[in-house]
Symmetry: C2
Subunit: 136 residues, 2 copies
């Protein structure tokens, strides 16, 4: 069975569908490992982490592995939160990027994380995904 | 050893202290299980989850267990993000609430999560912790 937020719901937060926090509020831990697909229904990878901007409390980036794509298995990719949408029907995230285009995505090695508050780095990431960058 | 974001850093994001995302951006998964103390240096409990407001991408609440407090071990407590501060020296969160006052904190049973987008519930939580509620 594929891991998704229901199978990772150790605290029963989604047990009652009529009430409870979801889908407006979702547990970060339950969303880890969730699949990410594009709108063409292609499996792109999965969520490894959420990076919290501590001052604002915003999730600035999800960190993805595009493990299914040739040659990208060892790298991690920071994807702006606003580039992702939760697909509650299929219980997965949607990232609207063609699979081929991800070969050009800005990634990094696990042992060499970028300084995510660096504006040049952040601008490049937002430019790639076409998301607004508010840090300037 | 107490679990903290360094011991839970499976991806090496804090391995290089001079660069990398922290402490401005921190991995949500690395912060799970972190201790929460008050300003008097009392151990209040630990972080069990972060609830993401999916529309805005904000962490609306951390979900805490006040397991060390008599009679509160079975309950969970939603604490507004703005009530928490990361203490990077001690690698833990600070929640400025006296230990005794937590007996009156609004909590819930694991099998009965509140509808966190309900305004009456949210107002009550923010009132208890003295944090601004922007949902009205």
């Amino acid at each position: 069975m594929t891991a998704n937020y229901v199978s990772r719901d150790n605290f029963g937060m989604y047990a009652q569908t009529a009430i409870g926090p979801g889908p407006f509020l979702m547990g970060a831990n339950t969303l880890l490992g969730n699949d990410v697909y594009n709108r063409d229904g292609q499996d792109l990878g999965d969520i490894k982490e959420f990076m919290i901007d501590m001052a604002s409390g915003r999730i600035a980036y999800a960190v993805l592995s595009f493990g299914g794509l040739m040659g990208l298995g060892d790298k991690l990719f920071a994807v702006p939160w606003s580039a992702l949408a939760l697909d509650t029907e299929n219980k997965r995230f949607t990232l609207n990027v063609p699979k081929d285009a991800l070969k050009e995505a800005p990634g990094f090695d696990k042992g060499h994380w970028p300084s995510m508050s660096d504006k040049t780095w952040a601008r490049g990431v937002h430019k790639f995904y076409g998301t607004p960058y508010s840090g300037d």
